[in-house]
């Protein structure tokens, strides 16, 4: 007996399909099906996963899609060959593009050309009109069937009879199909739940919206034989045999217009590279670089990757032309060719990287270059791409948004009839650090009994639903560009954002099929660096570019070594700051390591401490073999970069480069899907065979697991390290410009404007208040005494102020002096804006203190049109605000204060309670019991730190780093998560320059702040 299932939905038919594509494929294979068609509704979003899984188990996969026509019946279309696939993909594109996100609209007329290369199954239930059946038969001559689907309902026999009649009348042959929604019958509860969610009703009210039974699963041969006449089952095989298309046939074709007529791609690339080398090395290209260039160009030519490099070069050239700062990273980015082309700035003569490490002959996959752009100007680049290649050739990759515990809890909770408040409670009980599984303890805490039947059901369903795709969203910047119509390759649909289109595949799908993608990403730090460079240029009166930043400046490394890095790219985080005084970076490559080592991968893999011990020369640097030395020498024998782990697999365990790459992919996915086990065996056996110790082998495997999705490739780290260095240099030598640029690039980074300003002032920068007579929209630099510059806060800091208001103000200022609020009001500026300015204290020079300013401003509001002129009225006696009131007003309006720190005002009181400042703390010895207090700047609970929460407190003298262990966090959850001003009683732990306060008790002192508004940046 044999059967091929031709109608099967995966969970990419959102809220209908109740199984992952991989589960369906595996189950179909177990049951011995001859083939399986994945036919998601007007979608190919799940097909690549299915394809990969089918290849793995050796099942024949058919590509198809279910379509409901607005004006007619429901069909399944199946692709028989590459051109049929293209037709199907175009049809789906048409349907999706003519409806809003998540919907589609197709009519029978859309099949007018008969979709050559596709087969069609018309469904017999509900029985289609004879004219529809005849129309289908006419448009798909010899390629159309009437599909009968039976689910053990009381009228099965009648339906079969009716279908036979229609088949006879229309000339369509009959075939069996299963309308499969799940891989096993046990998914019935899940499927019912999805239906209930789709209809927006609780499952017990869903009634007929639910299927009457669980028959829509992959059924066994004996079940099928009981239901269908043999001929109908046999027909499935005939159809399957005609479907010969495989996704492996898809070939990516690079765009070709970048090469000028009359030139070859490699010739043009070589010309650009040579031009670039002249610019980079005006005195002559070093031999080492020259050799590397030749090697790379040969490899690029051999693998036909020229168009890829040309495409990236074109984008970067566009950005440079517009003055948009950008930088490439990614596996191929750190090649000498990329350096010559201006895609990256990391000088290859300073690095020891092998290009081959990033592009390999064996892997046969496209090179990977991500380009970061200034975050506020990336849109210009995207629009350039659309304009250059057209919307039918360029589109963004999708990101599959999947159910997470919180969203799953919300939807399942509603479907099971928990009331809305309960659902909220439930969802809230899932904190951001609770991971992917439902934690019954949390539910108990939130007042739900995990043993309760309904709650148990909820937990089971939520666990099952987590990881199901919910919808497609746009990837942060992954562009796919094709030579011809992109829709022939993959369906394109509308994104939520107007004028945005995405393809139905995500990054992993593209990767799996070897399709090219260029990441056009947004990076806030680039905006900040560009701004700082502009400010420095203006200040110095001559252009100052990133390449003008002197390299290897000891003063910069001194600053970094003291963890004085607030605002510096990457190394401003709490964890990085804790590492810096131990790492004490002294050269560029140290920064590359620093960036890569403080990552969940190396931390979880236990690489950090061995590396530090070796670096501090507490532990000898040893290698188990010469081969391993070759791989790990630059990192003192400890694997830190993703590539090193892969290389280890090659040199120490005998993996082929292709296998190592597979390992890398599995590393990226195992947290989601699992599946590292067979690599474990293979790796450890391989290493034992080659004479390595089992301990060493196990340790390497553990490190691989730790790397998971978080490991940093060396090339990424190098590109990032460059930004680290440049931003650190700016902070060190141009602190005013740097702070100014950071403020103008907000929101970004770990710290709020208040901290950036505090830090700048601690470094001797004079910061001037927002002033209606002096401030621009952005923060600016003003000349101060002795050739120094002061930072003038910009109007962008003022809460509630409109852009029009600012434009109006600046225009008025240009026309003549402003001496009173009335002068200002005459400009036509909105009274609401005036009130914002008064609240910000920006009117001080024309109206006096905040209260006087407000009195003046409020008087404008109800005045006649301003031509009426001045109204004489007595001035009231208004008292200025007290220092504390001013502080509150500052924070409320501009989010920071140039007055004393709030803690300075509370210091007397805190001192009575024996709470010390962070400055005093730095003079106290290890192990001392102390009390500290401060504003909570941020809370972090890294997934790697087994439940430890890190807090940063700020007082008037600096920061205090607090560590809260899990049991205390559980006991004092409220204070930990809720306090804005927190006192911590604990033990000081000091290692050299690094000090932490290990919390023993927390006290929420927020009420002392009164109305002061402060924010903490908690990373979720």
């Amino acid at each position: 007996m044999a059967y091929a299932e031709l109608h099967c939905l995966s969970n990419f038919t959102f809220l209908r399909g109740a199984s992952h594509a991989e589960e369906l494929v595996t189950r179909a294979h177990e049951l011995g099906y001859a083939a399986l068609a994945i036919t998601d509704e007007c979608s190919l979003a799940g097909i690549v996963r299915a394809h990969v899984a089918a290849k793995e188990v050796g099942l024949k996969l058919i590509v198809g899609s279910e379509i409901r026509f607005k004006d007619g019946p429901r069909v399944v279309l199946l692709a028989t060959n590459r051109s049929g696939y293209g037709k199907l993909s175009s049809l789906i594109t048409r349907g999706r593009r003519s409806a809003t996100k998540g919907r589609y609209k197709l009519e029978l007329d859309d099949l007018a050309d008969g979709l050559p290369g596709c087969l069609v199954l018309l469904f017999a239930d509900p029985l289609p009109a004879l004219e529809h059946a005849q129309a289908i038969a006419a448009r798909f001559p010899g390629r159309a069937w009437l599909a009968v689907e039976l689910f053990r309902l009381p009228d099965d026999a009648e339906r079969l009879a009716a279908a036979s009649e229609l088949a006879a009348a229309s000339g369509l042959p009959l075939v069996a199909a299963g309308d499969v929604h799940m891989h096993i019958a046990e998914r019935r509860a899940m499927q019912d739940t999805l239906s209930a969610i789709r209809h927006g009703v609780p499952v017990f009210d869903a009634g007929d919206a639910l299927h009457p039974n669980g028959e829509r699963h992959l059924r066994s041969f004996s079940d099928l034989a009981q239901l269908y006449p043999q001929a109908l089952l046999d027909e499935t095989l005939a159809i399957a045999a005609r479907c010969q298309f495989s996704l492996d046939e898809l070939r990516y074709e690079y765009p070709e217009e970048l090469v000028p007529p009359g030139e070859t791609a490699i010739g043009y690339l070589r010309r650009l590279t040579e031009d670039g080398l002249l610019r980079r090395f005006p005195t002559g290209t070093p031999d080492k670089v020259r050799a590397q260039i030749e090697h790379e160009l040969a490899l690029i030519e051999e693998l036909k990757y020229e168009p890829y490099f040309l495409t990236v070069h074109d984008i970067v050239r566009f950005a440079r032309g517009r003055g948009i700062l950008c930088q490439g990273r990614g596996s191929a980015a750190n090649s000498s060719v990329c350096y010559a082309l201006g895609i990256t700035e990391v000088n290859p003569s300073c690095m020891e990287m092998l290009f081959e490490r990033f592009i390999s002959r064996e892997r046969n996959e496209p090179p990977d270059i991500d380009v970061d752009f200034e975050h506020e100007r990336r849109e210009e680049v995207i629009q350039y791409l659309y304009a250059k290649y057209g919307r039918d050739r360029a589109a963004l990759a999708a990101t599959v948004i999947s159910y997470r515990p919180k969203s799953a809890m919300r939807d399942v909770g509603k479907a099971l009839g928990f009331d809305l408040e309960q659902v909220d409670q439930l969802a809230k009980s899932m904190a951001w650090w609770d991971g992917r599984k439902v934690n019954p303890e949390r539910l108990a805490e939130a007042g739900f009994d995990p043993a309760n039947r309904k709650v148990a059901m909820l937990i089971r369903l939520v666990d099952e639903l987590v990881g199901f795709p919910r919808h497609l969203s746009q990837h942060v910047g992954g562009f796919v560009i094709a030579r011809g119509q992109l829709s022939q390759l993959v369906p394109i649909e509308n994104a939520a954002m107007p004028e945005r289109t995405i393809i139905q595949w995500d990054k992993d799908d593209l990767d799996a099929l070897g399709l090219l993608k260029i990441d056009v990403l947004a990076l806030g730090m680039l905006s900040a660096i560009r701004r700082a460079l502009d400010l420095v240029s203006a200040k110095r009166g001559q252009p100052f570019a990133m390449s003008d930043v002197p390299s290897e400046d000891p003063a910069v490394y001194d600053m970094i070594g003291h963890a004085d890095t607030l605002g510096v790219f990457q190394i401003e985080s709490r964890a990085q700051m804790a590492m810096l005084p131990r790492m004490k970076p002294r050269r560029f490559y140290d920064l590359v390591i620093e960036v890569a080592i403080v990552r969940p991968g190396p931390i979880q893999g236990g690489m950090v401490h061995p590396y530090l011990r070796r670096r501090e020369q507490v532990e000898p640097v040893t290698y188990p073999s010469e081969e391993v030395r070759g791989v790990l020498e630059r990192t003192l024998g400890v694997p830190i970069f993703q590539e090193q782990v892969m290389q280890l697999a090659v040199v120490a365990a005998g993996f082929t480069p292709g296998e190592a790459d597979k390992l890398r992919r599995s590393m990226a996915a195992w947290r989601r899907k699992g599946g590292l086990e067979h690599f474990e065996r293979r790796l450890i056996d391989g290493m034992l065979e080659r004479g390595y110790q089992e301990d060493f082998a196990r340790q390497i495997f553990m490190q691989i697991q730790g790397f998971g999705e978080y490991g940093f490739p060396e090339s990424h780290a190098a590109s990032f390290a460059l930004l680290v260095y440049v931003s650190a240099w700016l902070k060190c030598h141009e602190p005013a410009a740097f702070a100014c640029a950071l403020l103008n690039s907000q929101p970004m980074g770990f710290y709020a404007p208040a901290q950036i300003v505090q830090d700048a002032r601690r470094h001797g920068v004079e910061v001037r208040p927002v002033d209606v007579l002096a401030s621009e929209w952005d923060c600016t630099l003003e000349k101060a005494e002795e050739g120094t510059h002061a930072l003038r806060l910009g109007l962008r800091q003022v809460k509630g102020l409109s852009l029009e208001g600012v434009a109006c103000l600046i225009a008025t200022r240009a026309q003549g002096p402003i001496e009173s609020v009335e002068d200002l009001a005459r400009s036509g500026i909105d009274p609401r804006d005036l009130k914002c300015l008064a609240a910000a204290g920006a009117l001080t020079r024309i109206a006096g203190h905040r209260r006087k300013a407000y009195w003046d401003v409020a008087g404008i509001e109800r005045a006649m049109p301003l031509a009426m002129g001045h109204v004489a009225e007595p001035q009231p006696d208004l008292f200025p605000l007290t220092e504390g009131q001013d502080l509150v007003a500052d924070y409320a309006s501009i989010g920071l204060s140039l007055g004393r720190h709030p803690l300075a005002l509370l210091r007397d009181r805190l001192q009575r309670e024996r709470i010390v400042t962070s400055e005093e703390l730095s003079g106290l010895p290890h192990g001392r019991l102390v009390r500290a207090a401060g504003l909570v700047l941020n809370r972090q609970r890294p997934g790697t730190a087994s439940g430890v929460t890190f807090l940063t407190l700020e007082d008037e003298t600096g920061h205090v780093n607090v560590v809260v262990w899990r049991d205390l966090a559980e006991r004092q959850r409220r204070a930990l998560l809720g306090a804005r001003l927190l006192a911590v009683y604990g033990t000081l732990e000091r290692h050299g320059e690094v000090a932490h306060l290990i919390a023993g008790h927390l006290r929420d002192l927020t009420p002392l702040l009164g109305n002061l508004v402060t924010y903490s940046r908690d990373f979720h």
């Binding site: 689910f151 053990r152 309902l153 009381p154 009228d155 026999a157 019958a185 019935r188 509860a189 019912d192 499952v203 017990f204 009210d205 869903a206 009634g207 007929d208 639910l210 009457p212 039974n213 669980g214 028959e215 099971l416 009839g417 408040e421 909220d424 409670q425 809230k428 007042g447 039947r453 059901m457 009130k835 008064a838 609240a839 905040r850 209260r851 006087k852 407000y854 009195w855 409020a858 008087g859 509001e861 109800r862 005045a863 109204v871 009225e873 007595p874 009231p876 006696d877 208004l878 008292f879 605000l881």
Partner: protein, 466 residues
Amino acid sequence: MLWLALHFHSLSLEVFSRGAAVPEPLVVVEKQGGRTWVVACNGAAEACGVHLGMAAPAAQGLADGLIVCKRDLSAEQESLAGLAVWAGRFTPSVSLEPPDGLLLEISTCLSLHRGLANLLKEARSGVGEMGYAATMACAPTSHGAWLLAKAGIEKAVRETARLETILAALPVALLGQPPAVLEGLERIGAQTLGDCLRLPRGGVARRFGQALLDELDLALGRRPEARAFFVPPASFERSLELPAPVHTAEALQFAVRRLLPELEGFLTLRQAGVQELELVCRHERRNNTVIKLGFAKPTRDAGRMQLLLRETLGRTRLEAVVHTLVLRAPLVLPLSASSADLFQKTREADGDLLLERLRIRLGKDAVYGIETAADHRPERAWRPARGPKRAAEPNRHRPLWLLPKPLPCHDGSLKLTSGPERIESGWWDGGDVARDYYVAEDKSGAQLWVYCDRTSGEWYVHGVFA
């Protein structure tokens, strides 16, 4: 003029809690801007750390067993009207200050109540007896008295000059001005009424509107005021929701005591009395229990009423727990009028006499209609209907007679004539079924609806085809 202001600062809480002592933490919440906030809480809740303005879920997180009531504005309105009725015992000049205040003009009735001190004492104990709490203040202007009461300054101020001094120190937030005005005042540092008074009047009017000046003037008596007085309703009916269900009639007495003073005030105001009272006890899903009290002569003496109530309640057995109590005076008589029985009860015949009789005979739940329900499980595909319902489309695959419970079937001679129909549904309520249904014929030729349970493999008869 002398005004007495009563500010019922906890009214939104008391409408829930005054029926009985509530030892559990209790909060009243109100939805505002998409979130639910605590707008009132009792002492027990406060002790757990709950405070006003807190988000409701946060409060739930703090206090175990927290009772959460949604704010009931209409109950508050009703309570305030009831209080106004009660206040009629002191003066006919009672004015409402919604949502939580009463203003009484008392200059003419001081001697009747043996002086101000005595009147205040009476008022305070009256409020307390009814289960409310109020801050009270007297002043020559109604708004002045009201501001004092809201500020919690329980003083009797007779002279305007002194009133001005005291009012000057009060915070501006007490004023009945829109939030924008209050915010503006805060912005210029005007924190007290005195600060406002010191500002140039023209400037204030331009910036904050004439209404602000008017309110200040009103409070200080610089502007005449015209208040509308409360007109009591013609009949008396007051209900009281009990915070926790009450089981015994005796326990009801506590609650009834809360209502009697209002009745007394009402009757005083109307110069009337009652000869019959109805105490209606409302139960969950059960008809009300009506307890009637008859007096030999019309009366408005709360003490007498209470005495009689105590006796009557002592003899009453409650059939179910009571959640709400209603005190009703169906007929109000001039106190001097004769006590003749003026009304006779006539009972309207029920529309559907047969149904009524059947129900009385067989029990209320034994007679019902049926309607279909959307559920794949046959036993849940229908449900009793109270009223007549539109007939549903008959399903020809289902038997007309479904057995109340499937019967195990061991009859090996059954002949299966069609099927199976597979039904798998209902996992969500613990009644998951997985069955294959068949139509079967027994030896007598009867058409039965049988199924095989797919979990146990057992066979059952579930229905009979007509």
